[in-house]
Symmetry: C3
Subunit: 135 residues, 3 copies
């Protein structure tokens, strides 16, 4: 079964959408299976991370900003501004897709795990995620 | 079909568990399909790498220790000590889930590929992996 | 259903093979499902990235060459030359497998997304990719 999720991002950063994904899984009414998420963009990516302490999210964002800075003179692709190429690289380092088993009708996430969309553009937008739920 | 694997880690580093996974796949008795692994933690991750020369494992561990050092002053999240935030970042750079096709009743791994759990905490623990096997 | 793809690489770098993968999916004749790719090597990896501007590909390649240089004195594993260990690390940072939903008989890729094989060895070779297509 294929479902579609649109997540509207307010700007750069990690945005948790575990609740919205849980709602899709509940609606699918599958007791045991596999939920696969696929983001249809190359300047936004997916990540499973701790959702208890907000400092984890901030530290992740800052560490990636240091590793892949906006002002690196190496970039030649700047069509959409200084956040263009860093977004592609940060996407390459994280994930375009995730798969999470479904058990007892629910995502088998660990106690502290949340599902995040990572917006890499300064100006957020409506990001499309395709969700596949299989047996 | 959902199976559960618990891997007990002795401390930081890559720990191969291909044999344990092979046993789960044999027991499932699926001739052709897909095996998906999901680790229910954000301070441990999954990786497929060469398992022939142990130097590969050591070099990978050391390279990641340099890229994501424990004493980076950037981190504000230190609840569980200096290995806390580096573990989250190293997890983000590797994988929370893996999928490996099953062919002829066996994992379709390449000749030199092994499946590893990467423990990012100094003090190891019992790590839970959910295994989904689909047709 | 399991299919096999062999991609012959001319040397280091990102090589798009979206067309070859599309042909495999068309042949499978599945209207809705999930396509999973698995590369059977640890010195080549998979990536979904923008395929419109060739500068993205070049910038990605150069950025990874800087992050994981060939002449790092840290490496002890050099069996197959200076491109050996950087290949393993660059593989660890990208992906050994990808999953893309199938909708309306086609891969649900975004407008600018292409599927790439990343050859990490100077001397290219015939790289084996196992493709699983499930419902």
């Amino acid at each position: 079964m294929i479902k579609h999720l649109t997540i509207t991002t307010p700007g750069q950063g990690l945005l948790e959408f575990t609740d919205k994904l849980n709602a899709v899984v509940r609606e699918a009414n599958v007791q045991e299976g596999l939920c696969t998420l696929f983001v249809q963009h190359t300047s936004a990516s997916l990540l499973i991370q701790e959702n208890a302490d907000p400092a984890v999210k901030r530290d992740l964002e800052q560490w990636f900003e240091h590793l892949v800075p906006e002002d690196d003179t190496l970039y030649t692709h700047r069509n959409e501004g200084p956040d263009d190429m860093p977004g592609h690289i940060r996407s390459a380092l994280t994930a375009t897709h995730l798969a999470i088993p479904i058990s007892g009708g629910r995502l088998a996430l660990g106690t502290w795990q949340g599902v995040f969309l990572w917006e890499h553009k300064r100006k957020g937008s409506a990001r499309r995620i395709v969700v596949h739920i299989g047996a």
